[in-house]
């Protein structure tokens, strides 16, 4: 029994219905498991042909910064997986401008192409979704 089978065997029950899913990432990549397990949800979600977007805010912006080195904390560096999202047709990635700037980051610091939007635009994005999952 794997999560993948769990996803695929139920897919027929939801056929045809497409909802807008937004995954909000608010936590640093290491220190807690939220970021990693949230990414696992996104990868499974890709099998469901839904309209998927990802948002990065607060410390969540650190999840996609370049140059992550985790060997010394003996934890897997999972940041390359974000680059695989494109292959799953997950291409709508948003970063909140305020969170990015408060941490001294720029758009070119990220390992994946993102759209930088304001907190106000982020609120509108959330408002326009059917399902919002925040990790």
């Amino acid at each position: 029994m794997t999560e993948v089978t769990g996803g695929i065997e139920m897919e027929e029950d939801t056929s045809g219905k497409i909802k807008k899913f937004l995954y909000i990432n608010r936590k640093a990549p290491y220190g807690t498991i939220y970021a990693l397990e949230s990414l696992e949800v996104v990868l499974i979600a890709a099998a469901f042909d839904q309209d998927v977007s990802l948002a990065f805010l607060d410390d969540g912006v650190y999840e996609i910064i370049k140059g992550q080195h985790t060997r010394t904390i003996d934890v897997k560096n999972f940041s390359p997986t974000y680059r695989a999202l494109e292959g799953y047709d997950i291409e709508k990635l948003y970063v909140e401008k305020e969170s990015m700037e408060a941490r001294g980051l720029k758009e070119e610091d990220f390992i994946v192409p993102v759209k930088v939007i304001s907190a106000k635009e982020m609120a509108d994005l959330m408002q326009s979704q059917d399902v919002v999952l925040s990790f």
């Binding site: 999560e3 769990g6 897919e11 939801t14 219905k17 939220y34 949800v41 469901f48 399902v131 990790f135």
Partner: protein, 120 residues
């Protein structure tokens, strides 16, 4: 009548998430709404451990979910990947819960009117 899906991301007792989710589910059902599925993720998978033994004068979070699910036909689903990582398996899973994949969470999002998250 609304159809609710619930996501619980924190373990019992340490965090209030599971308590609040339970009270929410109970209140929704009492008001005539439907709670179709509760999905346990992250440390939330610990809410399903059959080995849980709180002191007698405290609420039994695991058994409380079990009873609510039995009385109202709620599907209690524990994420397999999160569960295995934390040592939750069929042999220590409380009756009334089932272990399955993350697809069940996505499906709940698609099929419910609202998917409500309880976590940190």
């Amino acid at each position: 009548m609304m159809k609710f899906g619930i996501l619980i991301n924190e373990g019992p007792y340490t965090h209030q998430a599971s308590d609040t989710a339970y009270l929410f589910a109970k209140a929704a059902i009492e008001k005539g709404h439907n709670v179709s599925r509760v999905f346990f993720y992250h440390d939330g998978v610990y809410n399903s451990s059959r080995l849980t033994e709180p002191p007698n004068d405290d609420r039994h979070i695991v058994n409380r979910w079990q009873k609510l699910a039995k009385d109202h036909g709620i599907d209690l689903v524990v994420c397999v990947a999160a569960a295995l990582r934390r040592g939750i398996k069929d042999e220590n899973l409380q009756e009334g819960f089932r272990i399955s994949g993350l697809g069940q969470l996505i499906e709940s999002g698609i099929q419910s009117d609202r998917l409500v998250t309880f976590g940190d």
